[in-house]
Symmetry: C2
Subunit: 119 residues, 2 copies
DNA sequence: CCCCGTTATATCGCGTGAGGATATAGTTCG
DNA sequence: CGAACTATATCCTCACGCGATATAACGGGG
């Protein structure tokens, strides 16, 4: 069988999952992540500062993200900002969680748990 | 004031979600819930005793389940067992979580987060 | 009949993590 | 100048998952 010890990591919290997704296409700094997530989820997930920076610390520790040294053009930079970049391990984690969600969604459909009689 | 914060309850933990699903069609006792969940998830979620009974206590407190007085036929009963039944609020919670998962699955699909290039 | 593994419920304590409150400081704009 | 916004960081508390442990009834084999 497959030696898939890799993606056997447990499920990601919604917070970590959304942070990783926000970094899939661009490096972002913390405050921008908060805005991006709130925007993409239409406000249903509003990360508080402590949640974000706590999560970032753990994600750095676990190798899901790294701090990026690349800075934007100096005329539109802000020295306070710290940019983060998703790692290959981070992308694997996103894939694993996406798979988990897809499987779960299939189970939900199979069991008819969604109200098919809308208001 | 808000008339009522209907299903604005936060997301369910996988543990609570799966326990509620196991009670959707039948009243079950704790030990049976553990086996049902492990079975349905093909072993990917194996509730420990402390997790189960801790969760049950909270779910009773929050009105997601009630203890059922109905017993099975006395010849196939076991006095030690305590049976639990899902409440309307519990079903609402399942629906809400199912919706959340379906939305998430759609977002996953839209963003192409599932590897379409296997191996 | 007794032993033992399984069934069944329950509690304790630890570690992790989410989030409110708070601190600090630079930036922008009236 | 000062208020609001941007930006990062830490403290503290609470909730929860889970290993460890306790207790006890059940059922079958020796």
């Amino acid at each position: 069988m497959s030696p898939k010890a890799l993606s056997s990591d447990g499920p990601l919290s919604p917070q970590v999952f959304h942070i990783l997704i926000s970094l899939c296409n661009n490096d972002l700094h913390g405050y921008a992540i908060i805005r991006e997530v709130a925007d993409r989820t239409a406000g249903s997930l509003t990360l508080s500062a402590s949640t974000l920076y706590g999560a970032i610390k753990r994600m750095l520790r676990d190798g899901l993200i790294t701090e990026s040294t690349e800075r934007p053009a100096p005329d539109q930079d802000d020295e306070r900002r710290r940019y983060y970049r998703i790692t290959p391990a981070g992308r694997d984690a996103v894939k694993g969680e996406s798979r988990r969600i897809a499987d779960l969604a299939r189970m939900v459909a199979d069991h008819g748990l969604l109200a098919e009689h809308e208001s």
